[in-house]
């Protein structure tokens, strides 16, 4: 089984910083039946399928839908593969192709959801009326990894600057709000199914310098 090399970093690639408002993020979750991921009462994505308890909701991994396709969500890594490939890297890194079975395999019991970047990127959650005012801003950031050039992260920034400067109670409150904002944003905007997405211009990811 061949690894889809089109999703690997490439010496000709650069960091994607162009406008992506017509594009979508895609993220997998472990569930055989995608219809079970939608709450039957509200029609919204169940929050348990946004991220697992061991992951950090304030820094959520996705991929850019396009060259990275829904069938690629089945790629999963062995312990050896995780050591070699589950790291951030430069977009133009020269990466060896993962080896099937030794380093990666295909996990079949996965489904996925997509979310429009336009609805998430730079979306602010203002808690100005709260007893502890705060603004949390969602950012969609290109963060290539050795296994997937099209890896993006959903991150958050707040008006508090460095969280390490805050006392424990304040830091805990900020973390709670970010967690809530992340769940709300995704559950409100996520869709099951494959949306229509334009082809990303090569200018966005190929370095012509």
């Amino acid at each position: 089984m061949n690894y889809p090399i089109e999703i690997l970093p490439n010496p000709a690639y650069k960091l994607i910083e162009c406008e992506l408002s017509d594009h979508f993020l895609i993220r997998f979750f472990n569930c055989n039946k995608p219809e079970e991921a939608i709450d039957e009462n509200t029609g919204k994505l169940k929050i348990e399928h946004i991220c697992s308890p061991r992951e950090q909701i304030e820094d959520l991994s996705h991929s850019l839908l396009g060259v990275y396709k829904p069938e690629h969500i089945e790629i999963s890594f062995t312990d050896l593969g995780k050591q070699k490939f589950l790291h951030y890297c430069n977009p133009n890194e020269d990466v060896q192709t993962p080896i099937f079975e030794d380093e990666y395999f295909f996990a079949k019991s996965r489904s996925f959801w997509c979310a429009p970047i336009a609805k998430l990127n730079n979306r602010q959650f203002e808690y100005s009326k709260s007893e502890q005012p705060m603004t949390a801003t969602c950012m969609v950031v290109h963060t290539p990894m050795r296994w997937n050039y099209w890896h993006f992260s959903l991150r958050w920034k707040t008006n508090f600057g460095e969280l390490s400067q805050l006392d424990e109670r304040a830091r805990k409150n900020v973390a709670k709000r970010i967690g809530q904002a992340a769940r709300v944003a995704i559950t409100h905007f996520a869709i099951l199914g494959i949306p229509e997405t334009p082809i990303l211009s090569e200018e966005c990811y190929i370095d012509n310098n």
Binding site: N41, A181, T187
Partner: protein, 192 residues
């Protein structure tokens, strides 16, 4: 011993809640006591509005739909707790259940069109419900307290527009919600 612990937890929980606020709903012991005394008009004051009290006669139990929704929520909560026992630390199941009932009943007073409940690994309940074109998300933290009462965070959407985000204690969150939609069956009251 387990039963005694549960009973002590129950008494502590009721005392804590009675000191702060009272839910005008048939399941609440304190309000029922006040009503039986027949002097509710001088005891209870509406927190969010300028009108005074809810007349005794208009007090009523939830409709069939709210009852059905409550049963579904309770069943869902119990099932999720059983699957994820570590999410709420060593908090007694009885206390968790009572706290869940508090927020669930408050939400059901708004007669939501649709509602769901999910627990999170932060020891909270994440409610999603819709009403009159609004999508409302309330996260009720069951194991942390904020100013000696349960903390909650509210977000309200209408279409793609995020109209409000608010964090505070449970009572203040529902006060903010009431500025958008009004509860149908009862209002959160504050003990004078």
């Amino acid at each position: 011993m387990a039963q005694e612990k549960h009973y002590e937890d129950f008494i502590s929980f009721m005392k804590n809640n009675s000191a702060k606020k009272t839910l005008a709903y048939g399941l609440d012991v304190e309000y029922s006591k006040q009503m039986r005394k027949g002097s509710s008009s001088t005891i209870l004051r509406n927190t969010g509005e300028t009108q005074s009290v809810i007349p005794k006669d208009s007090y009523s139990f939830s409709s069939f739909n709210s009852t059905r929704q409550f049963i579904q929520l309770e069943k869902s909560f119990r099932s999720q707790i059983d699957k994820n026992p570590g999410y709420f630390g060593d908090q007694s199941h009885y206390i968790l259940q009572e706290k869940m009932k508090t927020s669930a009943e408050l939400i059901l007073s708004y007669c939501p069109e649709n509602i769901s409940l999910q627990i999170t690994n932060e020891g909270s309940i994440f409610y999603t419900f819709t009403k009159k074109g609004y999508s409302i998300y309330i996260q009720h933290f069951l194991i942390d307290e904020y100013d000696d009462s349960d903390e909650a965070i509210l977000s309200i959407f209408r279409g793609d527009d995020n109209l409000l985000n608010y964090g505070g204690n449970l009572s203040s969150v529902f006060s903010e919600l009431s500025k958008f939609i009004v509860p149908n069956t009862y209002t959160v009251l504050e003990q004078v």
